[in-house]
């Protein structure tokens, strides 16, 4: 237990306060509802809790028990122990938001390091201190664009290759605005859809959002799209997989105005979907319009270089209803993880891990597409994820794989009815050639069983 008071101390304190019992401090609470009898499980000691929590955790099958080919926005990568060694420092994880810069330079400089790495990786000019995750970073891009045109442009064009959760989140966020979201209703096909998106862009368009690599793993050249977007004065946002940028041309080179990302691949455990990291970077002309915390460089009264939260006057605690976003927290500790990971891997390491993912995914794609009944839906180029047409139900195939210790790919039919029997397969540096060959053997075996059943 974490309450240190002895009975004697409690009595002395009550005397100072001038009441007889602790209960007397709650006279303002309506008596009829005071001190309800809460039906919660009985308290356990720490030792018992540890054992119970181990049992609950053991009821899961983790990606350390299973071979994982599942991605769809969250990826199983190797996390060097250095990352958690830093994260476990109480000075970082038990600190509050660095509102008092004199005693928070650790967090502030780490965020400044983070902002620097994000701009280097994305090819953009400025980054904020992070948003909640990949989905909310996209939602904040919409808010920035809407505010940029002072509400005079109402259309936002979304690619259907943008993660379904991101699109759904953007829709939720905009229930109370005049923004019309369009572009992602049509059926998807293997060919890049930039032409379709371009046809939707007009003078009322505030923002176009695409993903790179997209939800299906495809890498598309968005420079033509960027030209069309800029020709009508609108903005282009590109949601990226940050780890892929170890290998791929950064979206800044395509003329992106905003780059967002799910930062999870950068050293953050899968942890059943969170906490993750919303990366948000943009061009310097939008620096002052970007929501969220920002750390800036300055000097102290002793002449030393130092860091401080800056442009706070645009945030909710000052601007209240006139703020562009209600965002308050960032994902500071998770941004720290990404900072440690990215700097540890550095120039060579990030390139190596990105290439490993690329080569292994291409090997897997080639092998799987050679299985009778299977073919590759995704066209080249792709990064570490690709879509395969399957001979039958993805759910049934995955059940078969699971029995053999393999976590199969994502069933795209859940989100795209036209992609029934299509599986999204992710491969990372964690998958050995042996794992991939085993997957291929099982898919072949399962297909043979199915055919013989027919």
């Amino acid at each position: 237990m974490y309450i240190p008071h002895t009975n004697e101390e409690r009595e002395a304190m009550l005397q100072t306060v001038g009441v007889r019992r602790i209960e007397d401090l709650f006279q303002d609470v309506p008596a009829a509802h005071r001190f309800p009898d809460l039906k919660l499980p009985t308290a356990l000691t720490e030792m018992e809790v540890m054992s119970e929590m181990k049992d609950i955790a053991a009821a899961n099958e983790s990606v350390q028990d299973l071979v994982c080919f599942l991605g769809a926005g969250a990826y199983n990568h190797y996390i060097p122990p250095v990352v958690d060694a830093i994260l476990r420092r109480g000075e970082f994880y038990t600190a509050y938001t660095p509102y008092q810069p004199e005693i928070s330079q650790g967090t502030l400089q780490a965020i400044f390091d983070y902002q620097s790495l994000v701009t280097a990786l994305t090819g953009m000019e400025v980054s904020n201190a992070s948003h909640y995750d990949g989905a909310t970073a996209v939602a904040e891009a919409v808010s920035l664009a809407y505010a940029n045109f002072r509400g005079k442009r109402n259309k936002v064009v979304l690619s259907s290759g943008l993660h379904p959760h991101y699109r759904e989140t953007v829709r939720t966020y905009n229930q109370g605005t005049t923004i019309v979201l369009t572009g992602d209703q049509e059926k998807v096909g293997p060919d890049a859809e930039t032409g379709k998106l371009i046809s939707l862009i007009d003078q009322d368009t505030a923002l176009v959002i695409v993903q790179y690599p997209d939800f299906f793993g495809r890498i598309t050249d968005f420079s033509g799209l960027a030209e069309a977007v800029h020709a009508v004065g609108a903005l282009l946002a590109i949601a990226v997989n940050p780890l892929s940028l170890g290998l791929l041309t950064p979206p800044g080179d395509f003329g992106a105005d905003i780059v967002t990302a799910e930062g999870q691949p950068l050293g953050i455990p899968l942890s059943y979907g969170g906490p993750y990291l919303g990366i948000f970077a943009t061009r310097k002309e939008y620096a002052r319009k970007m929501a969220g915390r920002l750390v800036g460089e300055t000097v102290d009264n002793r002449g030393q270089r130092a860091y401080v939260l800056t442009l706070t006057a645009r945030e909710q605690h000052i601007r209240r209803e006139k703020a562009t976003s209600n965002i308050c927290t960032n994902q500071a500790l998770i941004a720290l993880a990404a900072t440690v990971y990215t700097s540890l891997l550095g120039k060579q390491g990030l390139r190596e891990v990105a290439e490993l993912c690329y080569h292994k995914a291409h090997y897997a794609a080639k092998r799987i597409s050679g299985i009778p009944g299977y073919s590759l839906w995704t066209k080249e180029p792709f990064f570490n994820e690709f879509v395969v047409r399957c001979p039958g139900s993805v759910r049934e195939i995955n059940e078969f794989l699971l029995d053999e210790g393999i976590l199969g790919g994502y069933d795209l039919g859940q989100d795209y009815p036209e992609l029934k029997n299509h599986m999204l397969v992710a491969v990372t540096e964690m998958n050995s050639k042996m794992d991939i060959d085993f997957l291929v053997d099982l898919l072949t075996e399962q297909e043979t069983l199915e055919v013989s059943d027919d």
Binding site: L14, T16, L40, P250, E297
Partner: protein
């Protein structure tokens, strides 16, 4: 010595981690999509570890001392929580795994939903929101969707007391509602007459923080919720201050329709230097169908030997999802562990001692600092950081001077309705000795303010850096390494 930035530590050819050679044939790289230059630093593992360790030593933290930030509930973050969240079964499960393979996670989420329902007096809970502010957004969108589904589309007004957190009006504006500010009365409560004047058929709802940001429990709360309901509105409760209410009163019993919890305040998950938070939302029976999708439920009931099968379901009139996947799961594991260690009795004790600690500090300090609302407080209270006899001294100076004595300052200049506010929340995890040290230092600083105010103006003196030029930071904007300022 100033700690260098990562970009300044780079030496060409150094590396921190090596990967194996590919065990598969290399594929052809993607031509024009292959990056020429990856301008990341090149640093050895040793230097990385030293850099971040040295940075950590420039921080204040709960693990170093008392952190009396009002409204932030900086209680101790138990170590067992950290250990549990890193168990392989939790930390290494993929969010898209088939539900049959993650029954432990789903059971934990289901139970946590049930416990929060019980603690808050609600019929439904979503764990999805990433933080308090996002919980507010979900809550206000639920409010909006509820009125809209009843064809009650003219309700666009939301009432927010002048003592509220800034996220309340910001969230309401994001949700397309019109914000009307409500004044506080002389006792620090919602002004009932002002409320009555605004209770008309355009009222969507009221956002209420109770205890409010003065740390006062509004004893008219039932009258407030009755008035809003009678006008057809809903009452949103800002649960930032739940640390005063565990086992003391259930907000749902008082007529609160929607409330967000802050797992990172009330339920001890670490603040992490500014996040991740976690902001589950509880709602009354009439609003369960509007919760963000999906929520965790029982898909197949337990049978004889078999446990129930947990899974996801989408509420019928859901506002949709507010983020990717299922929420800040790692924070849920920590909060679950915390609640399991406490049980009902332990949680009530948390709030009782949080309130005792605050009242103790208030009693010891009110002779030295002006207390604008002199009533029994809940888990926090607000003092004025200034004296007529020491006209040059401001709350900021007191805050900065505290650092020289190894203390983190309280929240200052909030709430906005108190002049030179110092908002103090000790939490239940501080001992009497720690509180007494705090009082001793605060009294000493008050003396210094009168006898040697220069000590305060120039504070802090003993910290790694002194007061910062914040104007320069904003005007000559430098947000990353090695670039010229953005004007």
């Amino acid at each position: 010595m100033t700690e260098p930035l990562l970009c300044e530590m780079s030496v060409t050819g150094r590396r921190g981690l090596r990967y194996p050679e590919p065990d598969v044939p290399k594929a052809e790289l993607p031509g024009k999509f292959t990056r020429d230059d990856l301008p990341l630093p090149e640093i050895h593992e040793v230097d990385i570890v030293r850099h971040f360790t040295r940075l950590s030593q420039l921080n204040y933290a709960i693990d170093l001392g008392m952190y009396p930030l009002g409204s932030c509930t900086m209680k101790y973050n138990p170590k067992v929580n950290e250990e549990v969240a890193r168990l392989t079964g939790f930390a290494y499960t993929h969010p898209m795994q088939p539900i049959e393979t993650v029954q432990g996670n789903l059971l934990l989420m289901y139970e946590l939903q049930e416990w929060l329902k019980e603690i808050g007096g609600f019929a439904g809970v979503t764990l999805q929101p990433a933080a308090g502010a996002q919980g507010e957004l979900a809550g206000v969108l639920i409010m909006r969707a509820y009125h809209a589904s009843r064809g009650d589309s003219k309700r666009d007004k939301i009432l927010i007391p002048d003592s509220a957190h800034g996220t309340n009006p910001a969230t309401s504006a994001m949700s397309g509602l019109r914000v009307v500010q409500l004044s506080s009365d002389v006792h620090g409560n919602v002004d009932l007459e002002a409320l009555k004047r605004e209770c008309d058929d355009s009222l969507a709802g009221l956002m209420l923080t109770n205890p409010n940001t003065l740390g006062l429990f509004d004893e008219n709360v039932e009258e407030i919720t009755r008035l809003v309901h009678a006008a057809g509105g809903l009452v949103y409760g800002d649960g930032a201050n739940m640390n005063a209410l565990l086992g003391i009163v259930r907000p749902g019993d008082l007529g609160i329709d929607i409330l967000h919890f802050n797992l990172h305040k009330t339920f001890s998950t670490p603040h992490g230097g500014g996040g991740p938070g976690s902001g589950p939302v509880g709602v009354s029976a009439a609003l369960v169908d509007y919760l963000p999708s999906p929520v965790v439920g029982i898909i197949e009931e337990a049978e004889e030997e078999l446990p129930p099968l947990y899974g996801f379901h989408n509420p019928s009139k859901s506002i949709g999802r507010v983020k990717s996947f299922w929420g800040q799961f790692g924070m849920m594991v920590r909060a679950y562990t915390y609640m399991r260690v406490h049980g009902a009795e332990g949680l009530r004790k948390v709030s009782e001692y949080a309130v005792l600690n605050a009242n103790y500090l208030m009693a010891k300090m009110k002779g030295t600092y002006h207390l604008p609302y002199d009533r029994v407080c809940m888990h926090e209270f607000v003092l004025e950081g200034g004296w007529a006899e020491a006209p040059g001294v401001h709350a900021l100076d007191i805050a900065k001077r505290m650092m020289d004595y190894g203390l983190h300052p309280p929240t200052n200049y909030f709430p906005l309705i108190v002049h030179e506010a110092l908002m103090i929340e000790p939490t239940e995890t501080e001992s009497k000795q720690s509180l007494d040290y705090f009082v001793e230092i605060m009294i000493k600083i008050a003396e210094e303010a009168h006898t040697d105010p220069e000590l305060l103006y120039s504070a802090p003196h003993k910290t790694p850096v002194g007061r910062l030029d914040e104007v320069k930071a904003a005007k000559e904007l430098v947000l990353c390494c090695g670039v010229s300022p953005i004007s």
